[in-house]
Chain length 494, copies 2
């Protein structure tokens, strides 16, 4: 069986096509005999986190069943074919240095990386709408070298990086300044330091793609944690890694797209992965855990719930979750991020000395990247539309959205950008089984008050997902790390 | 049938005892023939909001069915018998001037109000642990007349009240300062104005009972909205009404307890109210809405969902909700509030010239009230344990919690307080069908970005619940108002 077909094939059916037909004509599961399966471990969610956990459990010689709500694996990693055997990533796209867990996993499955295209200049559109270009391999990286903003920008980034060194990634709430830092938003902190309104706007230009959020939505403590987490055990995290291509989290891509890895993982797991199987209930009793989706019951010794906390909170638990865990799930909403992609016959911007990357005060797409196939046989550029820009964008008509996006691209890359062969959007807030991207975000108070509940198992239920990771939280690497950690917890108990 | 029995009787059964038995032995609804009912309107939730909406729909001559998840009506209004035919309120307790919608509704059902006991002095325990008493009917009301704090306290309250006049209760996000005020927390605003750490602590003493939250959890804009909403169309809201007894929201109580009103409403609605009926799905198609709980389907022309947004977000909608509505439900968590109640043979504190009210820097119970029966035949005092105090309290053993609470009460009211006849706690964060109290709270960004989705109907689904109210949001009056508003929306379309 090919990788591609796995994403469509229904490996085992749980009988829960919970769509309109089910609503109008029948009750999910009613009339069908309930089926039952047993395994050592049941995993909820077949994104990077859940598949990694399942794989490690299987490799350790234990039985495992993965229940996935969607008709495909990969979660926030999702390839879209663009013809000619090539794809563009609707979600997770890049990897970079210190992300060794996703890199090792990719290597394990023979998925190789290649450098993100970065020959040539970046485009910058400043607050006055003036376009310029610059080279991003200098000391500032992708940060635009705008002389009206640098006096605020450089000390702000250095200060945030410095503050982040005081935030332990495994317990941000234990930082000696946690009380002060979780009392305020990133927006408050920036406002207290800067009287330059354009600098404040630039901070939002950065937080929209990184968090899918405005600076007002982010606790300062959470922001510092996120920075601290952007590294590994031997390389302290920096804010720069989040927005840089060169030496940053956007440095490399994977041949065939990021979803190739979960597709291959699912292939290895075979019929241990059940698609179209949204879990409604998880019960614990008599030394067992039981996951229920429609008429299918999976009985196991341990469960790993590998979905965002806001989705985990929508499952019914018996007995109910401790209130600190339940209230955590009420307080870690998914960010708001849309990706809009244009496909051209060729990456024409390269001929003009541009690398396809733009940073712009004028949205909807404040940031763009080149996502062309490695051989440049097509030209693909996508824009990130995040936070307030995303909320505004999704209120527009389809035609107006496309026009606004292509107007951005024309400003950045010239008139040819106005005539793509293909144009498509991916609004992760409209995905029932994700509810927002790229990550769950914490406002003031959440980490301080509920952080310890992020990873603490509840009886036989363990928690995974990139939102639970100590490093590269919000990234594929964090998801893989979380799956390994949860598998380790479970294997120690089997 | 008596009022009391309604709360226990299962009026119509939906077959969804979704407890451990259901998890282990059978799938809810499986094997049972699905039953179906039809009405003009289906209401989800039998708290004040849902019952008010249902009553108005019924009174207008239309058919209605109310689906309630619990085995009782009343939501956050819940009487606990304390013997001798008397009760103490586990949840909502007080009403006050400008709350005319709950007062009128109570009058309609012959439930009369009486004054909260306030003869005598309040107790104050300052930041140094020193106890004093004061009269709360002066210009400061319940705010303690601490000379070390007043220089911060009085201007802060007056400034918040003044700022709140610029916040339209029906659209706080349209205030000309909304961007600035929703960028920051109440904690940031207080910190910017005050160098007195004790004043900052006193702000938390106030927000814990009012919001079940710390100042860091509250957007300044949301706080100002809440103040503006603490009044009516002709009396501007004030912060003071939230914490005052005299002329404030704690001025009166109801004979027989607040739950008597929903019990009488349910009696009037008769078998239109179905208990034990948690709604799992709401579908819309072909000009109809269908609410599903277990094997029961209710088909209607319109639905009114009258539960907190965080719970409304856990229902499965077909088609899915617009993303701005779904992301709102991810961003309005319930507060964290516990009520601990002690029952004595008599209200002995009254003989000592005390009215049973205390304000204290030392928790767990930062605030107490006299909840004795109107004839004083027993002595009842309860403490509010909110925000960080509640999160700390619920990690303690049962014995330690009781000891800590009674230590508070002894400090406030003397040694007799250490020997209650009864002691009980109500932790609303552990209530599956409430998930926190007293209200859904908004951190920075939520109102500005998602506020318009609070009340906007989604097709044939209308939203009620105190969290949707323009006045007395978070109070019974707001719940009643929201039910009336939602009923009005629906009746205009039938």
């Amino acid at each position: 069986m090919s990788e591609q077909t796995i994403s469509r094939r229904r490996l085992i059916g749980a009988g829960t096509a919970a769509g309109l037909g089910a609503m109008l004509g029948r009750v999910p599961g009613v009339g069908a005999a309930g089926s039952e399966r047993t395994a050592d471990v049941v995993v909820v969610g077949a994104g990077f986190a859940g598949l990694t956990a399942a794989l490690r459990v299987m490799q350790a010689g234990h039985s495992v069943i993965v229940l996935e709500a969607r008709d495909r694996v990969g979660g926030r990693a999702f390839n879209r074919p663009i013809g000619g055997g090539e794809i563009s990533e609707r979600g997770a796209t890049f990897v970079g240095p210190t992300q060794n867990h996703i890199l090792n996993l990719a290597g394990e499955f023979g998925v190789h990386k290649f450098p993100t295209f970065e020959d040539g200049d970046n485009v910058y559109v400043n607050a006055q709408g003036q376009r310029s270009t610059y080279n991003d391999q200098g000391p500032l990286g992708t940060a635009p070298p705008d002389p009206t903003i640098l006096p605020d920008l450089i000390p702000a980034i250095l200060t945030l990086d410095q503050m982040s060194t005081q935030v332990p990634v495994n317990a941000p709430w234990s930082s000696s300044n946690a009380g002060d830092w979780d009392n305020q938003t990133l927006a408050s902190w920036v406002a207290d330091r800067s009287v330059n309104p354009n600098f404040r706007k630039l901070v939002a230009v950065a937080t929209r793609p990184i968090f899918g959020a405005e600076p007002r939505e982010l606790s300062l403590l959470f922001t510092l944690f996120y920075i601290a987490a952007s590294g590994d055990e031997t390389h302290p995290g920096t804010f720069e890694r989040n927005f840089n291509t060169h030496d940053g989290a956007q440095m490399w891509r994977f041949f065939g797209g990021t979803q190739r890895i979960p597709l291959k993982m699912a292939h290895a797991l075979g019929n241990r992965v059940a698609l179209n199987s949204p879990v409604q209930q998880i019960g614990q009793a008599n030394g067992r855990v039981i996951a229920q989706c429609g008429s299918l019951q999976v009985r196991a010794k341990r469960a790993i719930v590998a979905i965002p906390p806001t989705l985990a909170g929508r499952i019914e638990y018996t007995p109910r979750l401790p209130s600190n865990r339940d209230q955590l799930t009420q307080r870690l909403p998914q960010g708001t991020l849309i990706k809009a992609t244009a496909v051209y016959d060729e990456p024409f911007w390269r001929d003009a000395g541009l690398n396809g990357q733009a940073v712009s005060f004028s949205g909807p797409a404040n940031v763009t990247f080149d996502d062309s196939p490695p051989d440049g046989s097509k030209g693909v550029v996508f824009g990130f539309i995040g936070g307030d820009e995303a909320r505004k964008f999704q209120r527009m008509t389809k035609a107006n959205r496309k026009a606004a996006l292509l107007a951005n691209f024309k400003t950045y890359f010239g008139s040819r950008a106005g005539h793509p062969r293909q144009y498509f959007e991916t609004n992760w807030s409209q995905e029932t089984w994700t509810r927002g991207c790229p990550v769950g975000i914490a406002g003031p108070g959440t980490l301080l008050e509920y952080g310890p509940a992020l990873r603490k198992p509840v009886g036989r239920i363990h928690w995974a997902g990139t939102e639970t990771s100590t490093y590269w939280n919000g990234y594929m690497d964090g998801a893989v790390r979380s799956g390994e950690r949860a598998a380790g917890e479970v294997l120690a108990e089997l």
